[in-house]
Point group: C2
Chain length 222, copies 2
């Protein structure tokens, strides 16, 4: 399968690109608004993989070209760019393509990080509202620490929650996620259930920052 990671030059994008390339046989396409930046980053990822004896090439493209070539398109962009990004690549998406929304909105006060719930209800819902007909949106990868994901020496042993209103699309994304070693995909229902998942991310940061020895936390349901 061809997987585009739009915003794939950012930190969560880097982690997903490296893990998918290292652990699965999917083609990984790094997207950016700046094609040159995408190419440079893709080369970096390829070098990193090569240094580990992994003969895997990651390719970089402008977002639209990456989306055009892909079956699964991950929106690894900041929450306030999710709607715009979907609109920018909408014409490049085919019927049956799947958009994946991992972003969450956060704000910070003296106590820590808090979920900044968008007016639409959730960031995943923003993506769904912007998606063209025939393209399902699935929420996943919300609660993964970028630095841990990008460090291929770090074990995961954690869960990612998958939500969506199209069961087939959800199954495709769950399979992609479970291709990453140590990551278990759990079904958390429909997109209406997104806020509680997006709200987990600030909690993970708060727990890490208040407990010595814990950092880059993930979560395991058990």
């Amino acid at each position: 399968m061809d997987i585009a990671i739009l915003g794939g030059t950012g930190d969560i994008g880097e982690g997903l690109a490296l893990r998918l390339a290292a652990d699965t046989s999917h083609e990984v396409l790094v997207g950016s608004r700046d094609a040159k930046k995408a190419e440079t980053k893709a080369e970096e990822y390829t070098t990193e993989l090569d240094s580990r004896g992994l003969d895997r090439e990651v390719y970089g493209f402008e977002n639209v070209a990456a989306a055009e070539a892909a079956d699964v398109v991950v929106l690894a962009v900041p929450p306030y760019h999710v709607g715009d990004t979907v609109e920018a690549v909408a014409d490049a998406l085919d019927d049956g393509d799947v958009l994946v929304s991992p972003a969450t909105g956060m704000k910070r006060d003296e106590e820590g990080f808090h979920y900044h719930k968008p007016g639409a209800g959730s960031v995943t819902r923003i993506a769904a509202d912007a998606a063209p007909e025939g393209v399902a949106v699935v929420g996943a990868f919300h609660n993964l620490a970028a630095a841990r994901l990008a460090n291929l020496d770090a074990d995961l042993g954690i869960d990612t929650l998958v939500i969506g209103d199209d069961e087939d699309a959800k199954g495709i994304v769950a399979d992609v996620a479970e291709g990453i070693e140590g990551l278990r995909a759990l079904d958390a229902g429909g997109i209406a259930n997104a806020p509680e998942i997006e709200g987990l991310t600030p909690l993970l940061i708060n727990v890490a920052s208040n407990n010595e020895g814990l950092h880059d936390l993930g979560i395991r349901f058990q």
Copy 2:
């Protein structure tokens, strides 16, 4: 230490009373608005403990009497009774006593359960606003499945998040929580961080209801 569990006849109260009595040396006082009900339930708990060879007596009282006798008072009541319950027992609390808030507000739609954030910001904040001066409020035990807690054959191996604006009180509650076998207490900061913790409870229910083989879920940060 003497620990009162107000609403200790309900399901989360039952789980906490049994676990604390089974695993710690704290005195456990079951509170209810109905003294008779508290006594009956306390006898049931004592019988359950005895059937496992645990020589531990649990006592039942009307809420005010339970709070009067205790150093730590757990508000194991529905979220809409938290404020009233604190006010009802306020005169029975001494300076330095600690109130513990485990409740969370939820509503349900076709997709699943959702966090019902109170106007005050969180249920833990409602408790804090109602507490008399000199009595600290700590949030804890929000994300525990009642049935699993009450089944002393069930292993935990999960975390509870502790929040509060008084570090000493938070330490007391963390120690009480860690007295329960298999429960790890993690510091999640101040009461301002309560919404993300209370919002985890509906998520745990949604994940359990969407994945075969998972039920009475807890959470582990790792």
